[in-house]
C-alpha cells in the first residue's frame, strides 16, 4: 500500500533541505574534517612533488634540447652523410598536464635519436630505470582523486540511506512527506556537497600552488584541458555517489551495503585494471623488439638493398636515371649518383618501417580497446583513458610525438641527401687525407647546415585529443547515464508500509 505524501515543500527545496541535513550530519560526525585533512595533505604532497619533478624534467630536457640544437648548428664543415649520421637527438617534452596525471609518461622513453637509415626507439624510460615498488602508479593528484577518492565517496554514500533505516529515521522522513525522489536525490546532492567540502581545502591549496608556480604557461589550450580535467573528475565523483546511494537504497543494512561497494571498488579499481591488460596481451600479443626489427629488415631487403650491387631495384634506378639523362655511366651524371642511392635507400627503409609500425600501432589499439570498453562496467576505466588524454599523457600523444619526430627525421635526412647529390662532387666522394691529418671525404660549407630545418614539436590540442579517445568519451557518458539512470529508477520507488 502506498501513501501520497502531503506536499509541504516543493520537490527541489526538499531535496536541498535533505542535502543540507546530510552535510550537517557528516560535519558533526567529524568525517568531513578528517577526510578533508587527509585529502588536502595527499593532494598537496602529490601536487608539490609532481610539479617539482615535472619542472625538473621539463627544464632538463629543454636544456639538452638546446645543447643539441646548438651543437647541430655549430658543426664544422662536414660531408652531408656524416651529418646524417651525426643526426639529431630529440627529447619528448612532458605532457601539458603531466603533473596532474602522469599517465604513461614513465613507461615511454624520454629521448629519441634520429639518424640516417634507421628509426630508433625512444630510450631511457623511467620505468626501466626504476626499482618498481608497486604499479598502482606514482603519487599524483589523479591517483588520489581517481583511485582513492571514489573509495571514500562510495563508502560514505553506501551508508547514507541504510543508516537512516537502522536509526529508525526513515519512517519519520516518510511521515514528513519526503518521497523517495526527494530522499534519493537529496542524498546524492548531500554526498556531492560533502565531497565538495572535503575537497575544498585540497583544491584551494593545489590551485594556490599552481598559481604560484610561474613556470606553467597557461595557454588557452591548457586552460581548456584543465577545465575538461575538472569536469571529468566531477563526473567520476557524481557517478560514484550515484552508485553508492543506489546501493544504499536497495540494500537493507549498512554492513551489507558497505561490503557491496567495497567489493565493487576492489573488483573495478584493483582487479579489473590488471586482469584486462593480461587478457588483452594474451589475445593480441605485442611482437618483441628483435622480431619486429628483423621483420622491418626483411621488408627493406624486399624493397631493395642499397648495399647489394646486384639488387634489382637499385639496378633499375641506375638504368632509369642513366636513360633520363641520356648518359652511359653514373660518372657522367650532372649530380652525385651516390647521393641519389642514399635518397632511394632512405625512402625504402622509411616505408618498410612505417608499414610495420602501423601494424604495431594497430596491435596497441586492439589491446587498448579491451581497457577502454571495460569503461562500460568500470567508472575507473571509463575515467582513466579520458583523464590521460586530457592531460596529454596518453599513448596517442606519445605516438603523435614519435610521428612528428619521424617526419622531421625524414625531411632532415633527405635534405642532407640532396646536399650529398648536389654539393659533393662524385670524384671527391671518397676518403683522402685532406682534413687535419685524418682521412676525410669532401666537406661542404657549414652554412648549408644552418639552413636545415629545426625540430619543434607542436603539441596537439584538446579537440584532437578527444577525437583520438572517442571510445573513452562514450564510455564516460555511459557511466554518467547509467549511474544516474539507476538512481533515477530507484527514486521512483514508493514507501513500503511495513508491519
Amino acid at each position: 500500500m502506498t501513501t501520497a505524501p502531503p506536499r509541504a515543500l516543493g520537490t527541489w527545496p526538499a531535496i536541498r533541505a535533505m542535502a543540507r541535513q546530510e552535510l550537517r550530519l557528516a560535519w558533526r560526525s567529524r568525517v568531513i574534517p578528517a577526510l578533508g585533512a587527509v585529502m588536502a595533505a595527499l593532494c598537496l604532497t602529490a601536487a608539490v612533488v609532481s610539479t617539482a619533478r615535472h619542472r625538473a624534467d621539463a627544464s632538463q630536457r629543454m636544456r639538452y634540447q638546446d645543447v643539441v640544437g646548438q651543437q647541430f648548428a655549430s658543426q664544422p664543415d662536414r660531408h652531408p652523410h656524416r651529418v646524417s649520421h651525426y643526426g639529431y637527438l630529440v627529447f619528448r617534452p612532458r605532457a601539458p598536464l603531466g603533473f596532474l596525471d602522469p599517465g604513461i609518461e614513465s613507461f615511454t622513453g624520454s629521448s629519441l635519436f634520429l639518424e640516417a637509415h634507421r628509426q630508433n626507439l625512444p630510450t631511457f624510460s623511467s620505468a626501466s630505470q626504476g626499482s618498481s615498488t608497486e604499479r598502482f602508479g606514482e603519487l599524483s593528484v589523479s591517483l588520489v582523486l581517481q583511485f582513492l577518492l571514489p573509495l571514500f565517496v562510495l563508502a560514505l554514500a553506501a551508508v547514507s540511506i541504510t543508516r537512516e533505516r537502522e536509526d529508525g529515521t526513515l519512517p519519520l522522513l516518510s511521515t514528513q512527506g519526503a518521497s523517495w525522489l526527494v530522499l534519493v536525490w537529496g542524498k546524492l546532492l548531500g554526498q556531492l556537497l560533502i565531497v565538495g567540502v572535503v575537497l575544498l581545502p585540497a583544491l584551494v591549496l593545489c590551485a594556490a600552488w599552481l598559481a604560484a608556480d610561474s613556470a606553467t604557461a597557461w595557454t588557452p589550450d591548457l586552460r581548456q584541458r584543465m577545465a575538461a580535467l575538472l569536469a571529468t573528475q566531477l563526473g567520476l565523483v557524481v557517478a560514484c555517489a550515484a552508485i553508492g546511494v543506489t546501493v544504499s537504497a536497495r540494500i537493507a543494512t549498512s554492513r551489507q551495503a558497505l561490503m557491496a561497494v567495497l567489493s565493487l571498488w576492489f573488483l573495478v579499481w584493483v582487479v579489473l585494471p590488471r586482469a584486462l591488460p593480461a587478457a588483452a596481451t594474451a589475445a593480441h600479443p605485442t611482437p618483441a623488439r628483435a622480431s619486429f626489427e628483423s621483420d622491418v629488415e626483411a621488408r627493406v631487403r624486399e624493397l631493395g638493398d642499397s648495399h647489394n650491387p646486384d639488387d634489382p631495384s637499385f639496378r633499375r634506378l641506375r638504368e632509369e636515371t642513366l636513360a633520363r639523362y641520356g648518359v652511359s655511366g653514373v660518372d657522367e651524371l650532372p649530380f652525385n649518383y651516390g647521393g641519389l642511392v642514399m635518397k632511394e635507400g632512405e625512402a625504402h627503409t622509411s616505408a618498410a618501417y612505417q608499414q610495420h609500425l602501423s601494424t604495431l600501432v594497430d596491435t596497441y589499439r586492439r589491446q587498448e580497446r579491451w581497457v577502454q570498453w571495460a569503461g562500460l562496467i568500470s567508472p575507473y576505466l571509463a575515467t582513466r583513458p579520458l583523464s590521460m588524454a586530457i592531460a596529454g599523457s596518453d599513448l596517442a600523444h606519445q605516438l603523435e610525438f614519435e610521428r612528428q619526430a619521424e617526419a622531421y627525421r625524414y625531411t632532415l635526412i633527405q635534405a642532407l641527401n640532396d646536399l650529398h647529390m648536389n654539393e659533393v662532387a662524385a670524384a671527391a666522394d671518397r676518403y683522402d687525407g685532406s682534413f687535419n691529418g685524418a682521412p676525410s671525404r669532401q666537406r661542404i660549407d657549414r652554412a648549408f647546415f644552418e639552413d636545415l630545418p629545426e625540430f619543434s614539436y607542436v603539441g596537439p590540442d584538446l579537440r584532437w585529443a578527444m577525437a583520438q579517445q572517442q571510445i573513452g568519451v562514450w564510455c564516460f557518458v555511459w557511466m554518467l547515464v547509467a549511474s544516474l539512470g539507476a538512481l533515477g529508477i530507484t527514486s521512483r520507488r514508493r514507501w513500503q508500509v511495513r508491519s
Partner: protein, 420 residues
Amino acid sequence: MQRRLRLEWALLWRGTAAPLGLALFLIAGLFALRHGNTVVGRQEAELAGSQGRQATQQSHILAPLPASAIAGDQFYYLEYHTERHPSPWARLVIGQRDVQAFNLKIRLLALQGQLYASDLGHPLLASLGQFDLTFVIVVLAPLLLIALTYNLWSGEAELGTWLLLQAQPVAPWRVLALRAALRTALVWLPIVALLLVAVVVFSLPLDVTWVGIALASAGYLMAWLAAVWLVAAWRRPSDVNMLVLLGVWVFWTALGPALVSVGAAGRFPLPEALELTVLQRQGYHGAWDEPLPVVMQVFYERYPEWRGHEVPTGRYSNAWYYAMQERGDAAAREAAARYRRSLEARDQWVQRVSWLLPPAALQQWLMRQARTDLQAHLAYLDSVAAYHEALKRAAFPMIFDDRPASSVDWSAFPTHRHVD
C-alpha cells in the same frame, strides 16, 4: 584442541564469505600463473629464435660479398644478439622484466648508444601493472585475510557471545588466537597450493627458494595479522575495524609505494641519462674532425697492445673508424659510471625505505629471488658490455690487418647468453 579447531572451522565455513573468497582467490591465482607463463613464455620463445635471426642477418650481409670485400667493413652492419634468459621464478614474479630489454642487439659501434632501449609493449598496459602471482600474494591475499579476520573480536562482542566465551574454561584469547591462526592458514595454504601448482606446471625446483617464497608469504601474512590484531585490540565496532584495515591496505599497498616511487625519482633525478647520450654522440662525431693521432691516442689508452700497429693516414681505415667509436664511449664513460651509481643509489634507497611497507618489502624481496629487479637488469647490461668487449677484441685483428672477409670464420665469434 581438535574439537575447538573443528568448531572454528564450522563457524568459518558456514558463512558464504570464506568459501567464496577462497574460490575467487584461487581463480585469481591460477589466472596469474597463466599470465606469468604467457609473458615469460613469449620472451623465451623470442630468445629461442634469437640465434636464428642473427644467423639470417649475417648470411644476408656476408653471402653476396664479392671476393674483394674486407672483414672490417662488415662489422658496421653485423648485429650480435644478446640473450637474457629468465630465472625459473620469473613466471611467478614478472617484476621489471616486462619493461626492461632482454634481447638487445649490439654492433661493434660505441656501446653507450646501444644499451638503454626498452622492449616493445603498450605503455598503458605496462603502467596498469602485471597480474602475476606476486600481485595475488602481495595485494590480494591481505584483502582476503582482512575479510576473514576484521571482526575477530568485535564480532563476538556484537553477537553477544563474548561474555559466554569468557565464561568458558579456556582463556578467551586462546580462542581468538586459534581463530586467527586458522584463518591466516586458510589464506596461506592456497598460496602454497598455487606455488605447488607452479612447481608441477612450470617444472620449477622444489628448493630453498621455493621454501623461502612460501615462508616469506607466511611472514607477510603474519605482518598483516599483527595489524589486524592491533586494530582488534582497539575494540571498535566491526565496521570501523574494516574501514581502518582498509585504510592500512590502501596505504601499505598503493599510496605508500606510490610515495616511495616519487620520492626516489625526486631524490635521484638521473640527469646523467640525457647527459651521457649527448656526450657519447658528441665524442664520437667530434672524432671525425680531430687529427688522427689524437683519436688513436684515446684508443691506445684502453687498448695499448695495438699501439705499435700502423694505421694508414691518407685513406679511410677501419682501425681509425673503430678508434673513433671508442672515442665516443670514452667521452661518455664518466657520465655512464655516474648514471650507474645513481641508479644503484636510488635502488638502495628504495630497498631501505621499502621495509616500512610490508607489501613493498615483499615485492622487492620476491623480485630479488626471481632476479627480475633492477640489479638483475644491471647484471645483464654488464654481461652485454663484457660481450661487446670480447667481440671487439676478437674483431680488432681483422680490422687492423684489413683481412679479407672470405678469410674470416664468422661463426667462430663469441656468442652471448646470460641467465638471471
